[in-house]
Symmetry: C2
Subunit: 342 residues, 2 copies
């Protein structure tokens, strides 16, 4: 299995990318990597070239650039070249920590959609934090690839999410829910009321109804489906509040004198456990599901551990054949032609 | 100043309502109350009838009922009767902890909109949790009165929110922001891009740009304007995450043995402070802004303290004449006729 890696994207690139890739290479003997980037910056960082090949590129897409324009103009950028390698079957998956818009555009315009999918959905695996829950994570999409969605997009997300939960998380007959502004069937605006009815009528789908944004981390469902606009707002609010809580605790301890500092020492394992449970780096990257190959981005701020974990997730995606499953479902006649080697 | 109170609404009604009203009455010598409810249930709870008058009603609107139908049919319910008292100028404001939909419907259909306001917005005051911030709270609307919004609704919310921040929170020239999926001007779907431009062009408005859902509690703005759908999702996600954090800490302490319990004792003041800072009961109720009088709801789970604080907030609204200010702005010619006494 070969992964095409954009070595230049992310706040800590190329250091964190190279370190994460080498750690993943050392852990998984069945993985090979093509690293796309500027040799002057990347080569000195590589400790061991086993199953790791550097491909020279001369351009970089920066964080602020207009995605579609950048993809069209910077043909020799690390993002475009890595995506092209996947398109041409030279690699099984694409990975980057760079400009999210550019990754989405490269996925759509270069790697290409599965026939039958109108718009791919950005898919994250989020933690279930409910104490005592038997499940530890759930699939959440669309995290924001599309600000405006139609009914059929959400129905497609439901199936894509179900495949992901089954294949990658190993959950049998995953419970699928719709993110909505109330638990009852008749809640929501026109779009969400209609999607609720369509999901209810859908075959092969264990649809359990609506879930509210306040219950995301409670783990009522294995897959939570939403339009990208709402999912993005709820996810950012969740992350922002978690960050704020950690900040408030830290600040309270710093300003709480000796008493608070002693308390912190005693409670350290509890805090560490919570931080680990809530940490995004444990849960890997976001996958642009609905494309002909795994296209995966991780946070711009990703460190080497997050990069390594995300690569582990990509490996599972390739191994389990989730993309083939999606192709079979949405466009069975296409399967033979469109699959990249894997 | 007289407040018409629905004594029957809320999980802890009528006990928490009566206790909260009596506490507010004891604190504010200039307040009078009409309590609408079932005398058999309410009367035995009243300790002191000073400035507190019980008005007999025979019906109740339950939590699950279809709001508009309930308002039209249950003419002798505590919600309908209390709203009618405000409409007829017998009271200056309406308060309830009951069925949110029914309160919104009673506000719209009985108390009535200010001319020039298309749709009132449900307005909350939320905590700013950023350590060291000079501000402690901000105004947030529409929290969910309307799932579908047009451009002009959001522009009206911006002005209503500005009046509220100025009059009730005493913030001079409040900074107004638009909740959006990115900080940059060109971010968002069609609606939010257009609203951004309209707010920018608006006179008398200190518009500072977009704010993301992850930055709500950071306090970048004094007023955050949003469509009801997005604001509701972001607010619920924020509340849900805060609740989850407290649960995780509590659970970690309970299962962390003696060590964690000792740590908790030392850190108790820090936790108490955070809980107080994040608690909704400190910040009162949600106001349906854009009506001809203050219509205020509080959480169904409100206790007597939350009821008392919400009444303090209503008192400030009546005193500062924020409704008159809104009427002057949106329909200056109407002011003389439509104002309830205050």
């Amino acid at each position: 299995m070969k992964i095409a890696v954009d070595a230049m994207g992310g706040d800590h690139a190329p250091q964190a990318i190279v370190a994460g890739v080498e750690a993943a290479r050392d852990q998984y003997a069945d993985l090979e990597f093509d690293l796309y980037g500027d040799p002057q910056k990347v080569e000195p960082l590589i400790k061991d070239q086993t199953r790791l090949h550097l491909v020279k590129t001369t351009e970089e897409i920066e964080m602020g650039e207009e995605p579609v324009k950048a993809i069209r103009r910077k043909k020799d950028s690390s993002i475009v070249r890595a995506a092209q390698a996947v398109k041409e079957g030279q690699a099984d998956a694409f990975f980057s920590a760079g400009n999210t818009g550019a990754i989405l555009a490269a996925g759509l315009l270069i790697v290409g959609r599965i026939k039958g999918i109108d718009r791919p959905g950005l898919t994250s695996v989020l933690p279930i934090a409910e104490p005592g829950s038997s499940r530890h994570s759930f699939v959440y999409l669309d995290c924001g690839a599309n600000a405006e969605a139609k009914e059929r997009n959400l129905v497609q997300y439901a199936h894509l999410g179900r495949f992901y939960a089954e294949s990658v998380l190993g959950i049998e007959n995953p419970r699928v829910a719709l993110l909505n502004n109330g638990a009852e069937e008749d809640k929501g605006d026109r779009l969400h009321k209609e999607v609720h009815q369509q999901l209810k009528a859908e075959e092969n789908l264990n649809f359990i109804g609506n879930v509210e944004a306040g219950d995301l981390l409670v783990g009522k469902a294995d897959v939570v489906v939403s339009d990208g606009w709402t999912a993005n707002a709820a996810l950012k609010a969740t992350e922002g509040t978690a960050k704020m809580f950690l900040k408030l605790i830290k600040n309270g301890i710093l300003n709480g004198g000796l008493r608070a500092k002693i308390g912190y020492l005693f409670l350290k394992p509890v805090f560490k456990n919570i931080a680990k449970q809530m940490s995004t780096s444990t849960y890997g990257g976001a996958v642009l599901l609905g494309l002909k190959a795994p296209v995966v981005k991780t946070h711009g701020s990703a460190d080497a551990v997050a990069v390594k974990n995300t690569i582990g997730q990509i490996r599972t995606m390739i191994q389990t054949g989730i993309i083939k499953e999606a192709v079979d479902y949405f466009s069975p006649e296409e399967n033979m032609d469109n699959q990249p080697k894997n």
